[in-house]
């Protein structure tokens, strides 16, 4: 990108006399290029440094427990035994619940705002969604604990257990504070990201495409189904993975409503734990070196999960972009 703009600027520079001004300008260019390169490299250096520190400080836990740290479900500070599975499982499952709910809803909101809502409605709703993204997560957490969880337990979970209680997913006593509540609060939190990114993607679709489709007699549904969604597909995937990334790392709100229990249960109504809430809860009072090291190891695992998911997103986008020009819809 920077090389393109430099080339674009040089013909106009040639038009002027080759004087001190031009020379000055070229040193400025070099300086600018150097600084921006340094900034870009800094990101990689910081990332590498984080990874090194995580590896170094988690080595004690990995040396002690070996790879079984990854799949052991013990977390017992009294006996100094640690395993990552409950927290890692909670992180992945709560984020999946969030994305399963916020994904379709977010896309629906974006479709409504760009294709159907009258301007007097779409502006305030769009603004409202962006404001949702600005609410601090601790506020979501407190709202989740004091309002959402009791209400869910009294109304929604009671119904779930009455009608679907035979499923292992909804078995066991329900306290309102559970994996499902954690996933739901995450869904509320990532919805604005998915909705606003998807809306921006839909706005970029050339009106001519949509108008042609309407001109051929398509209904609104057919235009959305056959033009808007396929055209914005890679943007939608990007938005969903952005939301997923945020859900994986979210800490405070989840800590409030997930129950912070190092247990793996098939039931979504049981309390669970995530990596980031375990870190938030236990870091300050971790007394043994092995406990601290195990917490850092959890951090490393979260780092790897996030990297894996982002790579997956890049891979999907890359495949779509490769597929698009060839299979360019009719």
């Amino acid at each position: 990108m920077p090389t393109g703009s430099i080339q674009a600027a040089s013909p106009s520079a040639r038009g002027h006399r080759a004087d001190a001004g031009a020379k000055h300008r070229s040193t400025m260019d070099a300086l600018f290029r150097g600084t921006s390169l340094a900034f870009a490299v800094l990101v990689l250096v910081i990332l590498g440094a984080i990874l090194l520190v995580l590896l170094f400080q988690s080595s004690e836990a990995f040396l002690r427990f070996g790879p079984s740290f990854l799949w052991s479900s013990d977390w017992d500070p009294v006996r100094d035994l640690y395993g990552a599975l409950p927290s890692a499982y909670g992180t992945v499952v709560s984020s999946l619940i969030a994305i399963l709910i916020a994904g379709p809803v977010g896309i629906g909101v974006a479709v409504f705002l760009t294709e159907m809502a009258p301007p007097w409605l779409s502006r305030p709703v769009g603004l409202g969604i962006e404001l949702l993204a600005a609410i601090p997560s601790i506020i979501y957490g407190m709202w989740g604990l004091f309002v959402l969880a009791p209400w869910l337990n009294r109304v929604f979970y009671a119904q779930l257990q009455e009608h679907f209680g035979f499923l292992p997913l909804f078995k066991g006593p329900s306290l309102g504070i559970s994996m499902l509540t954690g996933g739901l609060i995450l869904a509320v939190m990532i919805l604005p990201f998915i909705a606003s990114v998807t809306r921006d993607v839909f706005r970029l679709i050339p009106p001519m495409l949509k108008e042609s489709a309407y001109g051929l007699g398509s209904t609104t549904w057919e235009v959305i189904r056959n033009v808007v969604i396929p055209y914005g597909r890679s943007g939608i995937v990007g938005a969903i993975f952005l939301g997923l990334g945020r859900a994986l790392g979210e800490t405070m709100a989840v800590t409030f409503v997930i129950g912070n229990s190092h247990v793996i249960s098939a039931s979504l109504l049981s309390p669970s734990n995530t990596i980031s809430s375990t870190l938030a809860n236990e870091f300050a009072e971790a007394t043994t070196p092995l406990h601290v090291s195990s917490l850092v190891a959890l951090g490393l695992i979260l780092f790897l999960i996030t990297t894996l998911i982002l790579s997956l997103a890049k891979f999907l986008l890359w495949r779509m972009e490769k597929a698009l020009p060839g299979g360019s819809k009719r």
């Binding site: 500070p77 006996r79 604990l145 969880a149 190092h262 809430s277 938030a280 236990e282 300050a284």
Partner: protein, 345 residues
């Protein structure tokens, strides 16, 4: 005239700075539970003497680590270090204030009478072995109380804390099964239930969840207005958590003679004494290069223990009995030194 003013202002500023320097600034770190009290003491003492005793509530584990590394002047912990650790790091440990842990319950209805439990039954509840509130064992202890057919939801502390340490130590003492299954620690693996961060987190979970049973510090039990548990004490009387029962327990034993001042009343509360309590500790280096600095630290703690008792009671902490304070100061005399010489009094 103006120059004169400027001069006197400068001199005044210099003297203030000098006295501040002479009076000294000390830093401490550790337990979160006594933080409000330490902040209040430090504020009052600064107004009185000009010495600043800054305190960061980073948690007992952090406080112990910092004083072992010597990055702070004093550490604070909610659980006592064993004597061999004190010897290894050259530290002296003494109690500052007493903390009390209270089990709290949430049962629907307007009845706010304390739920009577035996110590063993309390441990069985936290082990998940008594699943419902209308269990015959609970009913037998609470005749006439409306105990619903409701699941018992255990609410524990998610973060490591002295509160959990104290509570698990008590349950382990009264129930061998709890000792082997769960054990004692600032954070433990609870067999069942949910966990929340901080005393206020546990209190709000208990308030939200019908059938919940949790444990919080005395001040939080008082403020939250939650229903408490009355525990059976030797001789068959039930102790409710209040000032009277805590003082009854504290007056029982000459705990100041325990190594490291460990407050261990759990077997010896006597009839009517509240059993779940423990001290919050200060850690200091035994050897001070600068005797005046060491003396300044001890003067502050002496002031807190004696003059600060009223402030402690105002904030719902329990100050140490006078005879224990005397023992603590005797301990300083024998153990805190500078170049081999005692610096206290």
């Amino acid at each position: 005239m103006q120059r004169r003013l400027a001069w006197s202002a400068a001199v005044m500023a210099a003297t203030t700075l000098l006295t501040a320097w002479a009076a000294g600034t000390f830093s401490g770190a550790g337990a979160t539970f006594p933080y409000p009290l330490y902040a209040r003491w430090s504020h009052a003492y600064r107004a009185l003497t000009g010495s600043a005793f800054n305190y960061q509530s980073i948690g007992s584990g952090g406080g112990i680590l910092q004083i072992q590394r010597g990055t702070v002047d004093y550490g604070a912990s909610e659980y006592p270090l064993p004597p061999k650790d004190l010897d290894r790091h050259g530290l002296v440990q003494f109690p500052m204030v007493v903390g009390v842990v209270v089990p709290v319950v949430h049962l629907p209805g307007t009845d706010l009478r304390p739920v009577r439990l035996t110590p063993e039954l309390l441990a069985d509840l936290f082990l998940g072995r008594v699943a419902r509130w209308n269990d015959p064992r609970i009913k037998a202890l609470n005749p006439g109380m409306d105990l619903p057919d409701l699941a018992v939801g255990i609410v524990a502390r998610a973060d490591g804390s002295g509160t959990t340490w104290l509570f698990t130590r008590y349950l382990s003492r009264v129930h061998p099964g709890f000792a082997s299954r769960v054990g004692v620690g600032p954070s433990v693996k609870w067999p069942s239930g949910i966990a929340a961060k901080g005393n206020e987190g546990v209190a709000s979970y208990v308030r939200e969840v019908a059938g919940a049973l949790g444990y919080v510090e005395y001040a939080y039990a008082l403020q939250s207005g939650l229903r408490v548990v009355a525990l059976e004490t030797p001789g068959g009387t039930f102790a409710e958590p209040n000032r009277g029962s805590v003082h009854a327990a504290l007056g029982r034993e000459d705990w100041a003679s325990n190594p490291g001042f460990e407050l261990d009343l759990m077997d010896n509360t006597g009839p009517g004494g509240w059993p779940i309590l423990g001290a919050s500790y200060i850690l200091l280096p035994r050897e001070h290069k600068d005797p005046s600095k060491g003396r300044a630290l001890l003067s502050y703690f002496s002031w807190c223990l004696r003059e600060g008792a009223k402030a402690a009671e105002d904030l719902n902490y329990f100050p140490l009995p006078t005879k224990v304070v005397d023992r603590v100061e005797g301990h300083w005399k024998d153990n805190v030194r500078s170049g081999g010489r005692a610096i206290w009094p």
